[in-house]
Symmetry: C2
Subunit: 303 residues, 2 copies
């Protein structure tokens, strides 16, 4: 099953050096979930060949513009492209007012349902469960109410062992039953146990998205051992005072969190406009946590 | 005196084929005026090296998103870049609510004054007069209240004839007086008439911006003889029914207007997403009005 994240933007606050503000696409088994939607996200989608209609779920962490200014334009384009199916929007409750005032003044009636789900800032909760993934909010500590998101693959069905079933003349349609543990009786009446004909499914993976936040540790229990942690690293650690003042994190702090939480990989992003060259941020993170990577626009990271 | 327009976006409705939604920069004697501000305008400014701080005036034609979705991001970036001087915003009155609801929910207090001027949709009026230019609204006919803008250079002072003043020992500071028609008396008491030492100033130029509108003719008297007419040409003329239905103009109609109004040059833009190749639109316009040009991103047109 596909479980991977594509970076559409990794700049903090303002676009700069051809870096766009934050947005990511999480591909879960060919269903696309969007995380944050800074200005120009729809242009980035065009650039990287990501189709509007593949997105049914959008998650907005908080209402600083670099995380949502692209949303109204994306929704308008979905509308103009004839979308009919619902869009599920998980965001602070005020997003509804922001969108609706703009639709009103342009005399636009969006022709598909927008299902608003208001994220809470006082309790972490499961906000979505599909066939493939469970999504819960992560309470972050920023200047305005902000939640991260934890995406956990669901336990998959066992996989059919193709070598063993070969020659048993099992109808293709029966494979789903085998995966669910239902035994198979062949033409001669011999019973083949499902457990013997199948193998363990892959272990479910998890992705934690943490932007923007003070590195204050309250959310660490929730992201323990995730396969991939995206954590904002707005500044280098020599700017730690500025990071604290603005409720942001340094590359060293993000790496320390990754290490303490024993995550498998760390992806850093939300880079300040002061850094044209990002390699010092990466080096700072790697010194503490070698499995650190930069969030680079257009790149896809397997989880 | 510089009087030229740079195209930042020329797409209608949605960004497509690397074309961005509408925005233009008018350079009047090194002061920059922005006309419309679709999503991604600030990224286009970065791309073409246009500095935020050079812009003091922004004109928004109407509140369809492809003409203003980039405004809140641009203002936020001006704020984050430390702007202190006022920004003058000419737009339908509802823009204030749209911006303020977003500043409120991000707990942002913009650190420079935004001077709102609400454009009227029932009467054309002068909305700005600087040392260099007079700006008046053009009443257009679109699905929601929409104004174009007419930018008229002011009459310049006469120019000093350098060949004639040479050897007369006229102090450099006196040149401004000569330009204003004040005669010069030399050391021997001989009077030199200002009119003889100066030549006619350049004839003031004018630029009319008309997007979006039905080609309904009511605004034609106002744009008679302009040096450059930007006119939307969303469709080819085989789509004239669709153009009328959506209150837009075809390339043939725009060219016919240019011809009837005896303008010097026509710039067409606001191209529908159905046209990957724009040359048929240009050919259609040129057949009626040979001095037709395409609005291409990054290109600058002298007026």
């Amino acid at each position: 099953m596909k479980f991977e994240v594509t970076i559409l933007g990794s700049s903090s606050a303002t676009p700069i050096f051809h870096r766009n503000p934050t947005s990511q696409i999480l591909n879960v088994n060919e269903k696309l979930l969007m995380i944050d939607c800074g200005e120009g996200t729809q242009q980035q989608m065009l650039r990287f060949g990501i189709k509007y209609h593949k997105i049914d779920y959008i998650f907005i962490s908080h209402l600083h513009g670099d995380h949502y200014f692209g949303l109204v334009g994306l929704i308008s384009s979905m509308h103009l492209n004839g979308r009919k199916k619902p869009l599920y929007l998980f965001a602070p409750k005020e997003i509804k007012e922001i969108l609706e005032v703009q639709f009103k003044h342009s005399a636009t009636v969006i022709k598909f349902p927008i299902e608003y789900y208001a994220t809470q800032n006082n309790t972490s909760e499961v906000i979505l469960e599909t066939n493939d993934v469970v999504v819960e909010t992560i309470l972050l500590n920023h200047r305005i109410p902000t939640t991260g998101f934890l995406f956990k693959e669901k336990q998959r069905l066992r996989k059919v062992n193709k070598e063993l079933v070969e020659g048993l003349n099992i109808p293709q349609e029966y494979y789903q039953l085998l995966k669910k543990g239902i035994d198979f009786k062949d033409e001669k009446g011999k019973l083949h146990k499902a457990i013997d004909l199948t193998i363990e499914a892959d272990i479910p993976k998890s992705y934690a998205y943490c932007s923007d936040t003070l590195a204050d540790g309250t959310y660490l229990p929730q992201i323990q051992g995730v396969d991939l942690l995206y954590h904002e690293s707005t500044f280098m650690h020599d700017m730690v005072d500025r990071a604290k003042e603005t409720y942001h994190t340094t590359a060293l702090e993000a790496a320390t969190i990754a290490k303490e939480c024993v995550v498998k990989k760390l992806l850093i992003g939300h880079f300040s406009a002061r850094y044209r060259d990002l390699s010092p941020l990466l080096m700072e993170a790697k010194e503490v946590f070698p499995e650190s990577y930069l969030a680079i626009e257009g790149e896809t990271v397997l989880i």
